[in-house]
Structure formats: structure tokens, C-alpha cells
Chain length 234, copies 2
Amino acid sequence: MPEYRVLAFDIFGTTVDWRTGVADQVAAIAARQGISLDAEAFADDWRGRYLPSMRSVNDGEREWAYLDTLHRESLDEMLTERGLDLAEDVRRELVRTWHRLPAWEDSVAGLARLRERYVVAALSNGGFALLTNLIKAAGLPFDCVLSAELARKYKPAPEPYLTAAALLDVRPEEVLMVACHHWDLDGARAAGLGTAFVERPLEKGPHGADRPDPARADLTARDFPGLADLLRHS
Amino acid sequence: MPEYRVLAFDIFGTTVDWRTGVADQVAAIAARQGISLDAEAFADDWRGRYLPSMRSVNDGEREWAYLDTLHRESLDEMLTERGLDLAEDVRRELVRTWHRLPAWEDSVAGLARLRERYVVAALSNGGFALLTNLIKAAGLPFDCVLSAELARKYKPAPEPYLTAAALLDVRPEEVLMVACHHWDLDGARAAGLGTAFVERPLEKGPHGADRPDPARADLTARDFPGLADLLRHS
């Protein structure tokens, strides 16, 4: 096993439970607005538009746009499709639900263990401000925040992974990317990073999360403490 | 008093004791190499070359260069002036003394208090990797690491201050720059940030640190807990 020095963690799905977090906040806002909607289906639909919206940035079809901007565009589409006309401030509040999401039960303790031996960094497509606020609110013990924003390209393009390694002054192969999505690990591997798949079976509720596939990851763990065990015995 | 949302902390001198940290490590390396030198004077000389070396980058006389690179160039000059010929690996080890410096006694507890109410960020001319390693080793509870490296200009140019505000998605006047150097606060004020002077009378040993000057700072505090007191009563 290579000598990893930095563990870079995906955030949405891997470290925090975006589905429960967004759905709970959407349900509360909808109730306050007197709107009837299925908040979990709403969260799923919103998340489903995430990869396509980023792809248009990475393909050069449009200039760099923050995740908040992409989330807002998707939200506006979704509201139009549902015939819902919400005020500007409510739309902004909805976009900000992605800034405050609950950590998975093992995330804080797992990161704290891993941090004893490695530099642990957040490496997400969320903007730097979004990530800083989310990590602070959830009490996640990261050593530093990194973001696709610093590279102005989204994962799985190579730039965010390589920018992370460059900023931390390590070689790409000294970084282990930790994620519950194969598309993220595929991007990391293509950029020369190590890859660790962590299973998050509840990420998408009943809709089926990515399953472990040892052929597509250097390491496979059940959760963050499981990853710490694997690395300790390496 | 404006509504500050982010407190941005200078690191060298303000949060950590560079002089003791560098001098102690230099003394240990010199002893091991069988070299006789005044380690504190060496640290002072090194630090004295810091502002002029950064100025050449900010003035556009040269391309962006990391603080590590500037420290290395200054070191090579100093060794030549002293007629000392040290091996490459020893020179590298000397440059890395700036990556591991002790926090002032009040820094950790003061930051922990301030963090309850504000986003606390490191904003230093040190490189992102240097800062991440230094903050981790000293156990400083920052919410995020920012660096002049992200703007490719050094403080007191406006870019590092404005990049910090932009990355954290706040207006410049919502950021309070905390430093023990007037030159840093002057730069922050010119960029539209609020300013807090914290006294670090021992920063330069017997050579005289900057003295409080209420005309040049919005707030003046004795140390980080003193700053927390001032802000609590605001």
C-alpha cells in the first residue's frame, strides 16, 4: 500500500446525509408556506439534477458557476414543473438547506481517529463557504477545507484532485480520496490519487446507493472507523 | 460596531511564536552540524528579510513564489554571508522550521471561544500546506485555512483579504482581520475589512514589537481572550 499522507473526503453522501437533511428542511419550509409536497422525492429530484448541471461547467458549455447557483437553477426548474411560485427569499432559503446537513453517525469519531495519523481534508464540489459553514455546524474535525471552487472545475474532472494535492504540497499518489460514489473515485484514480470506497447504503433512501466494487477502489470500508482499521493494519 | 461574521487571523507572530520556534529548531540543527551560531539573531535576521522578499512579488518584479521559496532564498544569502556551507538536506530542514511553531499560550483557548460565535480563519502569507501542517501540529481550532497562496499575492496587497471574503461569501466589512502588525492591518483596512490589533510584546524578543495604536485599528486587545471579551460586549 502506498504511503498516504492526506485523506480527502467527499462530503455530500459520504460524510453527511444530504437526503435526510434537505428533506427535513424542505418539509419544514413547505409546511410554513402551506404547500403540500413529498419532501424526500423533492430532495431526490434536486440531487438527480446535480451531476448533469456540473457536467455543463466541466464540458466548457458555460463559465464556472457555484454549486449554489446550480442548485438554484435546478430548484427554479423543479418549481416551474410543479406549478409552484415561491418568493425570492423562500427560494434562497431552500438553496441554503444544502449548507446545513447532519453528519452520518460515525463521521465525527471516524475523522477524529484518522486525523491522528493523516491530514484530513474535505474535498467536495460544494463551494468553499458552503463547506466551511456545513463542517462547522456539523462539528466535523477536518484539518482544512478544499473545494472544487479552488480549481473552478468540478469533480470528476482532474483539476480539483490535482489542486488539492498541489495545495497540500504532496504528490497525487500520496492522497487517498474517500467517497461513496464510484464516479468520484474513478475521477480521483484517473488523476493519480488512491481511492477508498465507503459504503453509505442509506444515502439515497430506498433508491439504491452505489455498492462496493473492489475492482474500482484500492480500499473498501463499511464506514469511517472501518477505514481507520484498514489503514492501521496497513 | 459592524456585524462581523468572520475573524481572519494572521499567524506568524499573532497566533504563534515564530522567534522561539525557529530559534529553538535552528539551535538544535546547528548543534548537530557542529556549527556555532546565535540562533535568536539568526531567526531575527531571517524574519527581517521577509517583508522585502514579499514586496518583490507584490510589485510584479517577479512571478508568484511560495513563502518556502522566499525563506530558502533568504537562508542561502544568510549562509553565504556567514561563510557557512550546509548540505541541501540541512537547508531544506531549516526552511521547514517555519512549518512547526508553538502557539502563544492564549491562542488555542481564545480561538475556541471566538469560534463559538464567528467563523475563525487563518489568513497568512504562509503557503496552504505550511499553514495546514502548522495549525494541525499546534492544535489551533480554526474553521478553515486561507492563504495568500490562494490569491497569489502577499498581504498587505488587497487580493489576499478580498479573496478571503469572496471564498467565505461575505462582504469585506464583515471580516475582522486580527494581527499584531500595523502593516497587515493597514492592508486589511485599505481592502475594506475591519481591524483588530492584538499585542504580542514578545514577538521580536528584545527588539520591540508593534505597540498598540488605536488610531490604526478598530479594536485593540491584549490577547485573544481579550478580543473575545471586547466582541462579546459589542
